[in-house]
């Protein structure tokens, strides 16, 4: 079934699930202004506005373990990639 096009939120809340994050670090390449490694070399959000929204969405899509969870900062509604 085709879903209706979704509106991309104007601002995103970004959460990295550390039970899932394996430190693949693709997000650090795709959205380097937002994500950085912590001491365990898992991804952390250092600046939620550090990159364009489109880049953050691409980073979340490319997480191999789907550890990056996004939601609309205004409504709190999950934004599934």
């Amino acid at each position: 079934m085709t879903k209706p096009p979704r509106r991309v939120p104007a601002a995103l809340d970004i959460y990295v699930d550390h039970d899932r994050c394996v430190g693949n670090a693709m997000c650090l390449t795709l959205a380097p202004g937002v994500f950085a490694h912590n001491a365990r070399r898992q991804s952390e959000v250092v600046d939620p506005e550090g990159d364009a929204i489109a880049d953050i969405i691409v980073a979340a899509e490319n997480c191999p373990t789907a550890a990056i969870l996004l939601s609309d900062a205004a409504t709190g509604e999950p934004y599934e990639v």
Binding site: G23, N62, P64
Partner: protein, 409 residues
């Protein structure tokens, strides 16, 4: 305590190949980072140590095949040794053997093809391939799981991903079977392996030439696009086509065989899966991956002197990280030697960790989930049709030589 006093140093000893868990589990308790002089290897068995190593890729090179000069082991026919260099050159060009920055550029080309969302779209195809294979054997009352389910399934899926024409499937299957000799012990094994490697180059070359000018949505087109962008040369495109055929085949085979064997030996877990095949398939597959992982261990080379767990690994020395042992580290997993398909969380290391985390992990998961679900929906129980399970003599892979089973009509 000296490990030599209590444990063999022969990593190919029959009892170590048959049961790596007892041996590497004992090593983990005695010395989670251990020097094996006989094979010139550091063996890393502790969970935390292993994760640390995998997340510090700059300290541990993946360019193993290029740098390790050791002759093939188990030994091969001397007359075949020239083939070893040819096969080494092929394998050394694979994505998995690269370090940054090249690894990042190359992975960047193929990474998007394998995202969780993209692989989820393959589930209906996987499910129908599983159904077709199981429908084909159901009335027989017995099968060799390896040759009749676990080996053909991933090749069908890879063939579809590569976009090879239907009439070429048998040819691809023959090449896929030939590449499996990477993991075997027969003295003649380099011959079928070299034939398969040349076969892939011959077979894929015209496919790549077509896709360079007229790309589609298949995986070879993704690699060809990488060549168009200057990331891969032609040789690397062909080599990585071969990598997909091997990496997606051997590992999935082992997941299916080792998983079903665990279910046969733990009938109460099989009944648990049967009670809710769809609902339990995801967690059950993770536990199969943890409990008896398709890949037992992988190698790295220290890029500089590194101190870990009180030992100093010198630059240039080889290490093997044994995920089969780390997956049973009691510091992380309760009752680690128990096969428990409800286990959650289950942070096993069967796909590795860090920048080299298995590219095909989601595909393997989808395949495992659909196989275990399909089996549990169709069959009330399996029993082994042999009293002896034999494994290939490999440090890297946990591969049964066959898995004959039968079931009541």
């Amino acid at each position: 305590m000296s490990t030599q006093a209590v444990l063999t140093d022969d990593l190919f000893a029959p009892e170590v190949i048959a049961d790596p868990y007892t041996y590497f589990g004992a090593l983990r308790e005695i010395e989670p980072v251990h020097r094996n002089d006989r094979f010139g290897l550091w063996l890393v068995t502790g969970y935390e140590e292993l994760v640390w190593i995998l997340r510090h890729h700059e300290l541990f090179s993946s360019a193993v095949i290029r740098h390790v000069e050791a002759p093939p082991y188990p030994p091969v026919d001397a007359a075949d040794l020239p083939l070893f260099d040819e096969i080494r050159d092929f394998r050394a060009n694979q994505l998995v053997e690269q370090d940054r920055p090249e690894h990042l550029h190359q992975r960047g080309v193929v990474h998007g093809y394998f995202t969780p969302k993209a692989m989820e779209r393959w589930r209906p195809f996987v499910r129908s391939a599983v159904a077709e294979l199981l429908d084909g054997v159901h009335a027989k009352g017995s099968m060799d799981v390896l040759t009749e389910l676990a080996a053909p399934l991933p090749v069908r899926i890879i063939a579809e991903m590569m976009g090879v024409p239907y009439e070429d499937r048998d040819r691809l299957r023959a090449m896929a079977d030939g590449i499996l000799y990477i993991n075997r012990g027969e003295p003649y094994r380099l011959r079928p392996l070299a034939r398969a490697v040349r076969g892939i180059v011959d077979y894929a070359s015209p496919l790549v030439r077509e896709r360079i000018v007229d790309p589609g949505t298949d995986f070879i087109s993704v690699l060809a696009e990488g060549e168009n962008r200057g990331v891969f040369d032609r040789r690397q495109v062909l080599v990585n086509t071969g990598l997909l055929l091997f990496a997606g085949h051997e590992t999935t085979m082992n997941l299916i065989c080792n998983g079903l064997l665990a279910f046969i030996r733990n009938p109460e877990q099989w009944e648990r899966l049967r009670a809710d095949p769809k609902g339990m398939a995801r967690l059950a597959t993770e536990e199969c991956l943890r409990y008896d992982p398709p890949v037992k261990s992988t190698q790295r080379i220290a890029a500089e002197d590194v101190e870990i767990a009180g030992r100093t690994i010198r630059k240039g020395e080889s290490l093997r990280w044994i995920m089969a042992a780390a997956n049973r580290d009691p510091a992380v997993f309760s009752d680690p030697d128990t096969f428990d398909i409800g286990r959650q969380p289950n942070p096993h290391l069967s796909f590795g960790s860090g920048i080299h985390y298995c590219l095909g992990a989601t595909l393997a998961r989808v395949e495992g989930q659909e196989v275990f679900r399909g089996l549990a929906e169709r069959f009330s129980r399996f029993e082994l049709a042999t009293d002896r399970i034999e494994y290939q003599p490999s440090l890297q892979f946990r591969s049964v030589k066959s898995l004959p089973v039968r079931w009541p009509a």
